[in-house]
Structures are given as structure tokens and as C-alpha cells.
Symmetry: C2
Subunit: 367 residues, 2 copies
């Protein structure tokens, strides 16, 4: 008998827990109405873990994360922990999960919901219908490279050092993910680096080019310097289908792309690793937005990005495309009916609370 489907909830800080509460309601609905049930466990990450255990991710939590089918994370961080030393900050909990689970491929869709086009700071014709997938390398580059640190110099100065490093295999495995995704989309990959300035970018470009020739020549590939990619995202984002890039450029480009849609509160992400001996692909799902401490605990947060992250888990980890479609369609319908949390409000729409948004989604699922 196959083991039950397991999910570890890591609500984290700020609006993370409130958003997660609404996801739980949808999960219960799934068990009730679709006989799709999960073993749910919950634990602490980020500031919440610091407060309880003195570290942003306890070893026991790490252990759990390594042994479930999927992790669903809320958000980490907040002013309370801003002054902690580097190694103790809430973000380190998230970075540890990414690294030890070896989640090397971070999928960040930048999708413009038709009902929210007007929320974008860009002209409607520039973003209407926008559908980009950014594939960001997530376990390498300057985020994890050694040597790193701050050292004292003999003359009393200090020097801060980080190392950007990529190997052939690190580049190829995330490249494979990007090409495979493009094949199910519009068949176009744009690879981005600064090969005109950085040798690590030269290697990136060479390896992606080789991989393309060897295994993915059915896909259209082009290369674009990362600064230009930032510009082109602003100028004409619909020229892109899949963008594949390194950890740091991916951090920046995916945030710019997300903001084009005007609705950060709507965007989910998936971080995927390799398939292990048990046939399980390690995976963590989380919204693109942060912990928004300024509105935490006020029942104002938008739970939809976290809910759509759960939908991504249904699709990618549990192969439940139909159920994923149900959730995504319910979200779409709620938006179309003009129901909004404050962050995506516009004229002629109705601002509702986090929990009322959850109600609305459940009502749509029930129809």
C-alpha cells in the first residue's frame, strides 16, 4: 500500500499563518469532496523558530522536511529579527531548507490575471495576457559559494567577500528543467547571465548552449544579458516564455517580473529537487510575496498566493492536475466576481478580509 500523501506546513512569520489557515480549509474540502487527503504536519521556521528554539530552523524540522512529499511555506522575517547577526536571521531557515533539500529549480510564474490587469503599474496592453515562467537556480551561485565572510585588514579596514560559483552539472540540471517546461508551453527559453563581465556567466552560456544542442534542439533558445533582461521585462514582457537564470539574477528578475503583474499577492512558486530513490521529487511551495509584518494579524492579507502554491503542489508533486485546476478556477472566478483583498482592490470591487476571501473560494469550489 502506498504511503499517504504528506505535507509539512511551515507557516512562518507575519501574514504566513493567516494565509495558511485558509489553505487548510481548502485542504479539508479536498478530503471531504474529492477524497484527496493528506497527512499534515506543522512546524516552525524563521522568526517563529528563533523565538521558540533560538535558530531559524531546528534540526528536527529539517528532518521532517526531508521526509515529506511536499513542504508548504508561508513567509519568513520581520522587524523583530532585523538586528540579529547574519547567521541567525529568519531567512537562513529558508536558505537551509533550499540547500539541504537540494531544491535547485525554483519555478516562478509571472502571470497576469485578466481581472487584475488594471492593478499593474504598466499599461494594460503591455501586461494583459502575460504568462512568463522564470526558472531560477536555487542552491548555487553567490548564495552559497565559499569563501565568504567579513575580514579585518591590517590597515584597520574591513573587507566583505562572497563567491559566485557554478559547475557544469549545476547549470545543466536546472537547464533541463527549463527546457522541459518550455516544451509544455510556447517552446522558447531565454537564458540570462552577464557573460560579458563574469566568467561564471561564460560557463553558464556555454553549458546551456551545449545542453540545447544535445537534448533540446526542438526548443528555441536565446541568450540575453541580465541587465538587458531586466529592461526587456519592463519594455515588452510578452516577448518571454521561459527565462532560465542563476540564483542572484533570478532573485531580481523574478521580482521585477512579479511586479509587472500588479498582483504580488497572487503569485505562487515551486522549488524542486531531484527524484530520489523512492521516486519522490523533493519540493517546497511558497508564495512569492514576503511576510508583510505591517498588516500581519489584521485579517487583511491576501491568502491566494499561498493557496495557489498549494495548487502547484497538487500539480507537480501529487500529479493531481484536475484538483489543481479546480483550485485555480475557483480563484479565477472569485476574482472575476469582483471580490478582492485590499492589496488588489480597484474601483467597482469589494474589499474583503482574509477569511472572507477563504469563504469565497470555498463557495466557488462548492458550486
Amino acid at each position: 500500500m502506498a504511503a499517504n500523501k504528506s505535507i509539512l506546513f511551515l507557516p512562518g512569520d507575519g501574514i504566513g499563518p493567516e494565509a495558511m489557515t485558509q489553505v487548510r480549509r481548502v485542504i479539508e474540502w479536498m478530503g471531504r469532496e474529492r477524497s484527496v487527503s493528506f497527512d499534515l504536519d506543522e512546524d516552525l521556521v524563521g522568526g517563529a523558530a528563533i523565538d521558540a528554539h533560538g535558530v531559524p530552523l531546528a534540526d528536527a524540522t529539517m528532518e521532517k522536511a526531508l521526509n515529506v512529499d511536499a513542504v508548504l511555506l508561508g513567509a519568513v522575517g520581520g522587524p523583530k529579527w532585523d538586528d540579529l547577526p547574519f547567521e541567525k536571521k529568519p531567512e537562513r531557515g529558508l536558505l537551509r531548507l533550499r540547500k539541504e533539500m537540494e531544491l535547485y529549480a525554483n519555478l516562478r510564474p509571472a502571470l497576469c490575471f485578466e481581472a487584475l490587469v488594471s492593478a499593474s503599474s504598466l499599461k494594460p496592453e503591455i501586461v494583459s495576457g502575460l504568462d512568463i515562467m522564470i526558472v531560477r537556480e536555487l542552491t548555487g551561485g553567490v548564495y552559497f559559494g565559499e569563501p565568504r565572510g567579513i575580514e579585518e585588514l591590517p590597515d584597520g579596514q574591513r573587507r566583505g567577500i562572497n563567491t559566485q560559483v557554478y559547475t557544469t552539472n549545476e547549470i545543466r540540471r536546472v537547464g533541463d528543467v527549463a527546457f522541459d517546461l518550455a516544451r509544455k508551453r510556447s517552446g522558447h527559453v531565454t537564458s540570462s547571465e552577464k557573460a560579458n563581465v563574469m566568467e561564471s556567466g561564460v560557463l553558464w552560456r556555454q553549458e546551456i548552449t551545449k545542453l540545447h544542442q544535445e537534448k533540446h534542439s526542438d526548443i528555441k533558445l536565446d541568450h540575453m544579458y541580465a541587465d538587458n533582461a531586466g529592461m526587456q521585462l519592463v519594455r515588452n514582457p510578452k516577448q518571454f516564455d521561459v527565462i532560465v537564470t542563476d540564483n542572484l539574477f533570478g532573485d531580481m528578475l523574478s521580482d521585477v517580473a512579479a511586479m509587472l503583474t500588479g498582483s504580488l499577492g497572487m503569485l505562487p512558486s515551486a522549488s524542486l529537487g531531484d527524484v530520489d530513490a523512492n521516486g519522490r521529487r523533493k519540493a517546497l511551495y511558497e508564495p512569492v510575496h514576503g511576510s508583510a509584518p505591517d498588516i500581519a494579524g489584521q485579517d487583511k492579507a491576501n491568502p491566494l498566493a499561498t493557496l495557489l502554491s498549494y495548487a502547484m503542489a497538487l500539480r507537480y508533486t501529487f500529479d493531481l492536475a484536475e484538483e489543481a485546476d479546480l483550485v485555480e478556477q475557483a480563484v479565477q472566478n472569485v476574482l472575476d466576481s469582483g471580490i478582492r483583498t485590499p492589496d488588489i482592490m480597484a474601483e467597482g470591487t469589494k474589499a474583503v478580509s482574509t477569511s472572507a476571501m477563504g469563504d469565497a473560494v470555498l463557495a466557488e469550489l462548492d458550486r
Copy 2:
């Protein structure tokens, strides 16, 4: 007797030379009408230098650049030289100039010309009146850090390495430039890094904070992670006055900011070093746009960014604010009268050639 004012022209590749030709005409006008004359020299950089000398910047040219008051550069690069090895690419000529002239502060205004608001992909209310100054560190960080390169690993893989490194002094001197500029503007500096992920960013934040307390506490300072800064530029760019950031983040953020204005063909930049023993501050001026090889030689290029770079030289190197104003006002008037090169055309305006744009500017200067 004071030496004459000297400028070295480095037209470079693509549309560089055509744009520079129009600047020469304005310089001649200055000599004729305002008795402001320069010793002009001209030399090769980028692909043009590769074709002539086999290197993207000859030693003799470097020597000249070190001995003039200001360098005015067109643009470098083009498909012809794309397949050259890393160390021989056109860009290396530009990077050598920056490094050996020690041009550590790169000033990139992102200004939205009122007549061009509609050219932006952003909504008019988001960009109208936009006036940001990005101060990018230009001689440090991952652009120049050692060790760097591509190495073979025992298992047949390769590894690409670059090093991000900043010292206290490197951070402080560019910080000073940013605070001093803010004092003449709206008194607000935003410093940007990834201190949540990189120790070099932690040092950056600490040193900027210290510098602020010691010397610039009259200025409002805040810190913003670079990914968030990219988002905020798209969401609400008018929240910024001066942004100070490192070489790589500056490369990306200044390009995103430039694209917000919708008129890359309009944006100049200045790269400044320290004042030397002769009281001379090393300086290089260049447009933000690239060499646009696709339209080179067709009399279609917009010469205004290069012309405005010359205006920045008048202001910053030669202390000729009145003459700088004249040039900037002439450009403004030309735009207001609806004259446009193809890149900034809109309904109801007239597309003219590069040389006709030069004519129009001269006609305005003559009025």
C-alpha cells in the same frame, strides 16, 4: 596660464560615431558662440580598436584617457565581435577605462522627459515627473574581484568562479558621492544590497550607516534589498531620490530605472573618480544605451543621450552650468516641438534622421 580644456572622443562601435558627430557640431557652436573651446582628440575603443590593434583598448589610448579632463565615449560592441574570447571582447576596453581611471562613481539619472511620458510602458501617472539618480559603484565588486575564471575539475566537469568583494573605503567613497548629490536634490538616499544573503552586503549596509551617522545625518537614509528595489522601481518609482548600490546591482537597477522613462535614447551617464594632485577629477561620460548595431550607419540613431552626456561633462568636469543648461534646454525645446528620432516617435510627432536631430538642436541653440 591654465591649460586648455581637453576632451578625448572615443566614438566606439555601432551608432557611437554617428551620435558623436552631432556632439562635435554642438561643441563647435560652443566655441563660436560662447567662446568655450576644447582641445579635442579622438581614438578607438571596443570593436573598432580590436579591428585596428587587436585589443579593445590600446595602451596609447589608455594613456591619453588618463591625461585629459574628460573622456566622451559613444558605445562599444556588436555581433562581429561576439564570439571573441572573454578577455578580448569590446566590453573589456570600457572596463579597462573604468578600472585604470578609477572611476568608482557612476551617476545614472533616470529622468522622464515630459514630452516623452507616453513612450513609457508604464502608466503616465507612475512616471510623469520621474527624476531618480542612481549612483552605482563602478570599479569594485564582482566585475573585478579575484579569484575568477573557469577551471577543469578532476571529474571532467568545469567550474566558473567570480568573486564579489568590497572594502570599507570602496563603500565609503561612493557613499559620499551619493549623499553629496542627495543634498543638492531631495535629500533622500536609498542604499541597496542583499544583506540578508551576502556578507558583502552586510558590510555595505554597516559602512553606509556609519558614514551617514558621521557625516551625512542631514540626509534621509534607508536601506532596501536589491530585489525589492527592482520591484519598487516598477511599482512606484517616484518614491526614490538617490539610490546608491554596488556594481552588479547598479548595472541591473539602473537599466530597469532607465527603461521606466521609455526613452533609453535620452539618458546620459557620468563616471567619476577622485580629484588628483592637479585638481582634476577623472571623468568619463557616455550614454546609457548601447551600440545598437541593427541601425548603425543608417542615420536613424538618437544622438541626444550622447549630447546630454556632453552636457553632464560641461556641468561636472568644466563647471560650466550655464552652458550645460543651454544644451539641456535646447534638447527639451526640440522634444516639445515634436521632433523625434524613430526610437522615441509617437502619434503626432515627426520622425527625423540623426543629422536632422542635430540640425534641430543647433537651431534651438541659435534662437
